[in-house]
C-alpha cells in the first residue's frame, strides 16, 4: 500500500511519527542525561543539557540506597508470579474442562476481584495482615499479590484452554486418565506459551505495583517502587540520584519488555479483553 502514497503524504506520516517519538523519548532523555551528571553539575538551569562529563556518582549512590529494595522486589515478584500463574492455570483448567453446576457463576465471582479498586479492601486488608502476623513482611505481600492476581491469571488460562477441544479430555478419560493426569500430560505441556505470557504480565504488574507496597510494608521490606518515592522525600533532592533510582526501578521490566515484547503485548491485549 505504501507505494501508492504520494511523497508529500509519506513526509507527513513520518513527521507525525517523529513528533510522537520525540514526545515519548523526552522523559528518557532527561532520565539518562540527568542520571549521568555529577551532583555539582545537577542544576535546573542546565537540566536540558547533556552532562559535560559522564559521572556514575548518581548511580553509585542510588544503588547503595536501593540495593536492599531491589532484592526485596525480586523476593516478592518471583514467588508471587509463580504461585499466581500455577493456581491460575489450575483454575482455568477446571473452569474450562471440568465444569460443574454453578461453575460459570463461580468464574464470574472470581473475575469480580479483577475489577475492584483496591482501595475498597485496603484497610480491612491491613488489619487482617496485622492479625495473622504477616504485616510488614515480604511473605505477606506475596500472599496479597497471589490472591489479587488470581482473577486475571485464571481468566487468561481459561481463555487459552477453552480452545482445546473437549474431545481430547473425553478420549483421555476413556483411557482411564483422571483430572490430574490429564492436566499434567496434556494441558500443562501445551500451555507453556500461555505461562510465558502470564509470567511476564504478573512480573511487570507486581514489580510496578505501589499501593499494596506502600501500605503493607515497613522500612525493612519495602519494594523498590516505595523506596523510589522515598528518595524524593529527603531535604535536598539530588536529582542525579533520583533519576538513577528511577532507571534502576524501571530497568527489570524494561528488559522484560525488550526481550519478550511480543508476549508482553499478548498479555496486555488478553488482560484488557475482559469478560
Amino acid at each position: 500500500m505504501d507505494d501508492k502514497m504520494t511523497t508529500q503524504e509519506k513526509i507527513t506520516r513520518y513527521a507525525v511519527l517523529i513528533v510522537f517519538a520525540i514526545f515519548f523519548l523526552i522523559p528518557m532523555y532527561v532520565l539518562i542525561s540527568t542520571s549521568l551528571k555529577s551532583f555539582s553539575e545537577v542544576s535546573i538551569n542546565t537540566m536540558w543539557q547533556l552532562p559535560s562529563s559522564i559521572s556514575i556518582e548518581g548511580f553509585k549512590e542510588a544503588f547503595a540506597k536501593l540495593a536492599p529494595n531491589v532484592l526485596n522486589s525480586f523476593y516478592l515478584v518471583i514467588p508471587a508470579t509463580l504461585f499466581s500463574a500455577i493456581l491460575g492455570s489450575l483454575n482455568g483448567y477446571v473452569l474450562s474442562h471440568w465444569k460443574f453446576k454453578g461453575s460459570d457463576t463461580l468464574f464470574a465471582l472470581i473475575l469480580f476481584g479483577m475489577f475492584i479498586p483496591y482501595q475498597s479492601i485496603l484497610f480491612p486488608l491491613v488489619q487482617f495482615m496485622q492479625t495473622i502476623g504477616l504485616y510488614g513482611s515480604i511473605p505477606g505481600l506475596i500472599l496479597v499479590h497471589v490472591v489479587y492476581g488470581l482473577p486475571i491469571t485464571t481468566l487468561m488460562f481459561r481463555n487459552y484452554y477453552q480452545d482445546v477441544p473437549d474431545a481430547l479430555t473425553e478420549a483421555a478419560k476413556v483411557d482411564g486418565a483422571n483430572i490430574f493426569s490429564i492436566y499434567r500430560h496434556i494441558f500443562f505441556p501445551i500451555s507453556i506459551p500461555s505461562f510465558v505470557v502470564v509470567f511476564i504480565w504478573q512480573f511487570t504488574n507486581i514489580w510496578n505495583e505501589f499501593l499494596f507496597a506502600v501500605t503493607l510494608t515497613d522500612t525493612q521490606s519495602q519494594p523498590i517502587t516505595v523506596a523510589l518515592t522515598n528518595l524524593a522525600g529527603s531535604q535536598v533532592v539530588e536529582w542525579n540520584v533520583q533519576m538513577s533510582g528511577a532507571i534502576i526501578t524501571a530497568l527489570p521490566t524494561l528488559l522484560v519488555y525488550i526481550i519478550f515484547g511480543r508476549y508482553f503485548i499478548k498479555g496486555m491485549l488478553a488482560g484488557s479483553v475482559k469478560g
Binding site: 500500500m1 502514497m5 509519506k10 506520516r13 507525525v16 511519527l17 510522537f20 517519538a21 514526545f23 515519548f24 523526552i26 522523559p27 532527561v30 535546573i44 537540566m47 536540558w48 489450575l90 483454575n91 477446571v94 471440568w98 460443574f100 461453575s103 476481584g113 475489577f115 475492584i116 483496591y118 482501595q119 475498597s120 479492601i121 485496603l122 484497610f123 480491612p124 487482617f128 496479597v144 488470581l150 485464571t154 483430572i179 514489580w207 510496578n208 505501589f210 499501593l211 501500605t215 517502587t225 523510589l228 518515592t229 533520583q242 533519576m243 533510582g245 524501571a250 521490566t253 524494561l254 522484560v256 519488555y257 515484547g261 503485548i265 496486555m268 491485549l269 484488557s272 475482559k274 469478560g275
Partner: protein
C-alpha cells in the same frame, strides 16, 4: 452419575484455595469496608475501643458536602475525560499510520509502547522533574526553561503548581494528564492495531474504488468495525484513571487547594495519615461504586453477546 459427582468434588477441591482466599480478600473485606464506613471511626480513640456506633450514611453525607471531596470528583471527571480523549486520539492516529507498514514502523511501534512496561511511580518521578523541578511553588522551571531556550515563552505557565481553574477544571491537572497519556496512548494504539490487522483489505479497497475518501473510510468503515475494541479501551482507561493513585502520589501529591487530588489519594491520606478510618472507607466504597457503574453495564453487554 456417581462418577460425575466425584468429578465435581475434585474440581471444587482444586478451586478451593482460590475460592476461600478470594471470598475473604474480596467479598469479606468489601463488606468490612462498608461496615466501617457506617461507623464512627474517625478518631483513633473510637477505633481503638472498636466502638460499634452506627451512624448510617452520615459519613457519606459529610463527604459529599465537603469541598475537598467535591474537588476530587471534578478532578476525576476531567482527568478521566481528557485522559481517554488523548489516549484515543493519539493511539488511533498512530495505529492508522503504522497499519500501512511504513519503513521502520516496527521500531516506532515498540517505542510508543515501552512506557506501558514501567511503573506509574517512575513516570511520576520523571515528569515531576520535567514540569516543575526545584523548590515549589515558586515559578517552576523544567519544561518552561526549554520553552525559553527555544523562544517559545508564550507556552510557559505554572503547570501543576497552578491553582487556576476553568469550569471546575483545575488546569494543574493538565501536567498529570500529559504524563498519563504518555504512559497509556501506546496501549490504545496496540489495541487498534490488533483490530485493524484483522480487517479484510478488500473491503477498504472496494470502498476506495467506489471513490470513498480516507476520512470516509475511517468514519464509515474502520471506526464502526473497531467500536467494540474502542469501547473496551475506554473501559480499561477509565478504570486506570480511577486508580491513578501511584502517578499522583509520585508526581504532585494532592497539590495546593487539592488541585491535583483524586479520591484514591484522599482515601489513602484519610485512612493512613490521619486516622479517619470511616471517612477513608466511605471514599473507598464510593470509588467501588464508580467502578461498578462503569464496568457492570459493559460486562452485562459482553456476556449477552457471548
Amino acid at each position: 452419575m456417581k462418577r460425575k459427582h466425584k468429578e465435581s468434588l475434585t474440581s471444587i477441591a482444586i478451586l478451593s484455595p482460590s475460592i476461600i482466599t478470594l471470598a475473604i480478600f474480596v467479598y469479606g473485606f468489601i463488606s468490612r469496608s462498608v461496615q466501617i464506613s457506617m461507623l464512627d471511626w474517625d478518631t483513633f480513640a473510637n477505633f481503638m475501643r472498636k466502638a460499634k456506633d452506627y451512624v448510617g450514611l452520615e459519613n457519606y453525607i459529610s463527604l459529599f458536602t465537603e469541598s475537598r471531596f467535591q474537588t476530587d470528583l471534578w478532578n476525576t471527571l476531567y482527568f478521566t475525560l481528557f485522559f481517554i480523549i488523548g489516549c484515543l486520539a493519539i493511539g488511533i492516529l498512530l495505529s492508522l499510520i503504522l497499519n500501512n507498514k511504513p519503513r521502520g514502523g516496527y521500531f516506532f511501534q515498540n517505542l510508543y509502547l515501552f512506557p506501558m512496561a514501567i511503573s506509574f511511580v517512575v513516570t511520576g518521578t520523571v515528569w515531576r522533574w520535567i514540569f516543575a523541578p526545584g523548590r515549589l511553588p515558586n515559578n517552576p522551571r523544567g519544561i518552561n526553561l526549554l520553552f525559553e531556550q527555544l523562544g517559545l515563552q508564550n507556552l510557559q505557565w505554572g503547570w501543576f503548581t497552578s491553582t487556576n481553574s476553568f469550569l471546575g477544571f483545575n488546569v494543574a491537572l493538565i501536567a498529570v494528564i500529559i504524563a498519563a497519556i504518555w504512559q497509556y496512548s501506546g496501549y490504545t494504539m496496540a489495541m487498534w492495531l490488533a483490530g485493524l490487522r484483522g480487517i479484510d483489505q478488500q473491503l477498504i479497497e472496494a470502498a476506495r474504488i467506489d471513490g470513498a475518501s480516507k476520512w470516509q473510510i475511517f468514519t464509515k468503515i474502520l471506526f464502526p468495525i473497531q467500536k467494540p475494541i474502542t469501547l473496551s479501551a475506554i473501559i480499561v482507561l477509565a478504570h486506570v484513571s480511577l486508580k491513578a493513585f501511584a502517578l499522583i502520589y509520585a508526581m504532585t501529591g494532592s497539590g495546593p487547594n487539592n488541585v491535583t487530588d483524586i479520591p484514591a489519594v484522599y482515601m489513602f491520606e484519610a485512612t493512613f495519615r490521619s486516622n479517619r478510618y470511616s471517612t477513608g472507607s466511605a471514599i473507598a466504597i464510593v470509588l467501588l461504586m464508580m467502578v461498578g457503574l462503569l464496568i457492570i453495564p459493559y460486562l452485562v453487554n459482553s456476556f449477552k453477546e457471548e
